[in-house]
């Protein structure tokens, strides 16, 4: 099993108030099935964390435990310094959850619902986090100003998704959970959404935990990537750190004498050095692309699954 340890666990200790998520040895068991087998990770204030993994890896279970929607079997979990199993309403007010909506509140108008949900947060307003987010500003931020008087049942899929995001952030959360946030977004909406995530993290200091199957999106948005497979964390680090740990091939493209060349090499630096030694100034338009997150991800998950299969096989043989 390859475990890439992120900078946070090996580096300097973090001040307690900067630590927004602290998960240690989280375990979850349904009947006799272990869904989570000792998951540990942390997140500090303003960090964007992407939780990746194949279906059934335990992503949703992990998020639902952190949201306080599901009880855990074992492990020490702190979300904004509080155990989510016993977090009260004040704690709840500091969280934002973007749910995958279906057809709830269909008769409500967009602005009406956002305004109404905002009123639940006003008693939890602080100097640092004035709550709720003013409705008109929020509508503009998510791009629903034109739909503000529309009934929710009449929104398109993409507009509904934007409303989900708006509902998730109406209380100006310190920690935001995004489960598959951009499913059904067109490229422009996706770009707007990415800008919003950057703004929340950089300007407002919101910590964001997102799950996605879109690895390109994870690479663009996340400061750190945590990969979950088979109920364990198999990698934790930035996209660059992860790709360094995986012996992937880099792609090298260059032009020489008007012709375009492409070559794949495990040691790209060495290849390029030799290329220049051989041709010198004749080389132009050089591009080196390291393995993308997608390749890194596929390699890590494959290794983990092979490791588990091997483990299972040896356990089976021992049993014989």
């Amino acid at each position: 099993m390859t475990t890439v340890t992120g900078v946070l666990e090996s580096g300097v200790p973090m001040p307690v108030d900067e630590q927004v998520l602290d998960v240690r040895d989280l375990r979850m068991r349904y009947g006799t099935k272990d869904v989570l087998q000792g998951v540990s990770f942390t997140a500090r204030r303003g960090e964007v964390l992407a939780l990746l993994g194949p279906n059934g890896a335990g992503k949703t279970t992990t998020i639902e435990i952190l949201e306080g929607f599901r009880k855990r079997s074992a492990g020490d979990v702190r979300v904004l310094g509080v155990d989510p199993g016993i977090g009260g309403e004040r704690w709840r007010a500091r969280l934002g959850v973007v749910l995958q909506s279906w057809r709830d509140h269909g008769k409500w108008r967009v602005r009406e619902l956002l305004h109404h949900l905002g009123t639940y947060y006003s008693v939890y307003s602080t100097a640092e986090f004035p709550r709720p987010w003013p409705v008109d500003d929020l509508l503009e931020t998510v791009g629903l100003t034109a739909q503000s008087r529309q009934r929710i049942a009449q929104l398109s899929g993409g507009q509904r998704r934007r409303l989900d995001v708006a509902i998730g952030i109406v209380g100006r959360p310190e920690l935001l959970f995004l489960d598959e946030p951009t499913v059904g977004f067109d490229p422009a909406a996706r770009r707007d959404f990415h800008d919003l995530v950057h703004r929340l993290a950089d300007v407002d200091g919101t910590t964001i935990l997102l799950t996605t199957h879109d690895l390109d999106e994870a690479e663009k948005l996340a400061d750190r990537i945590v990969i979950l497979a088979g109920g364990r964390i198999i990698a934790d680090g930035s996209a660059d750190q992860l790709s360094l740990r995986v012996a992937g091939e880099s792609e090298i493209r260059w032009t020489r004498d008007g012709a375009r060349y492409v070559h794949s090499a495990i040691d790209a630096t060495r290849f390029v050095r030799e290329l220049f030694q051989q041709y010198g100034d004749a080389i132009t338009d050089l591009e080196v692309r390291r393995a993308s997150l997608e390749e890194t991800y596929m390699t890590l998950v494959r290794e983990s699954e092979a490791g588990r299969a091997h483990e299972a096989a040896s356990t089976f043989q021992e049993a014989l």
Binding site: T60, R92, L99, K107
Partner: protein
């Protein structure tokens, strides 16, 4: 303290908004109006018949009984239906993700269902008074109304909440309609309970529908009509007693069931239900 006032404030706002939405939604209005038209039609055709042995019209006897039944029905069925639907579509999960959201949600539902009950009462009673003669209400009747209506509400709403938290999905609401319809038939709403066999009378007297009908008859009908009632009396003490027991039981058990139901709500639970509903649709 702030939680309680937030729940009250947000819940009142929520109930008010949803009541307004219901009153501006054609399909919802029809749901209110159609049973009332049926009822008013029934008493219209009963207006000429009289309760045997008296000169009171049969319609005058049916109207208050039906008002009592309507109360039990709105309290029970509407609450159960709203809970099941709101759980299925994720409204409840949204409430759970919001601080004090569950309390606000429940207060909102009480306001909504209370408002709906009042509206149904008005659209049945006011035209009804013009259709049938013989209904009157005195000071004691008003007094009875003042305690009977809230008590009936508190007695029936928690039953609806319990049913709603136990039922699996909107499709199972039908299981609730069947026993309720049976109960209405034996509860002396349309046929006097005195014409039922003793064991059916006993069953009917265990449930709030009979007592709500009886209480409403005591409010609007002359005391002479007690001849058609069990024990030849309006039995107001017993009415208060039975409804009170239901209210206490309901208020004790419903929050436990509601909490249990809410605890199980999560994104994946709603997603699973959506999957199921989509497969059914196809």
């Amino acid at each position: 303290m702030s939680s309680v006032s937030t729940a009250a404030r947000t819940g009142l706002a929520r109930g008010g908004i949803e009541l307004r939405q219901t009153l501006t939604h054609a399909a919802d209005i029809w749901q209110f109006v159609s049973p009332s038209i049926l009822l008013l039609g029934t008493i219209f055709f009963e207006a000429d018949a009289t309760v045997p042995g008296t000169d009171i019209s049969l319609g005058a006897r049916t109207l208050p009984s039906a008002l009592g039944m309507g109360f039990a029905f709105t309290g029970l069925m509407t609450v159960a239906m709203l809970l099941v639907v709101d759980r299925e579509d994720g409204t409840l999960l949204r409430a759970k993700a919001t601080p004090n959201g569950m309390s606000g949600y429940l207060v909102g539902k009480i306001v909504l269902v209370g408002g709906m009950s009042a509206i149904v009462l008005a659209i049945q009673l006011i035209p009804g008074l013009f259709i049938v003669d013989g209904l009157h209400i005195d000071a004691f009747g008003w007094f009875t109304l003042v305690w009977l209506v809230p008590l009936g509400f508190i007695a029936t709403m928690p039953i609806g909440a319990m049913a709603g938290s136990l039922l699996d999905g909107p499709r199972n609401l039908g299981f609730l309609m069947l026993p309720l319809g049976g109960l209405v038939a034996i509860s002396g709403i349309f046929y006097p309970i005195t014409s039922m066999p003793g064991w059916l009378q006993a069953i009917a007297q265990l449930f709030p529908i009979y007592w709500l009908g009886l209480g409403m008859r005591s409010v609007f009908l002359p005391d002479a009509l007690t001849t058609a009632e069990l024990g030849h009396s309006w039995r107001l003490w017993e009415t208060a007693g039975v409804l009170g027991v239901w209210a206490v039981l309901g208020l004790a058990i419903a929050p436990i069931l509601l909490r249990r139901m809410a605890e199980r709500e999560s994104g994946s639970a709603v997603a699973a239900r959506r999957e199921k509903a989509m497969t059914r649709a196809v």
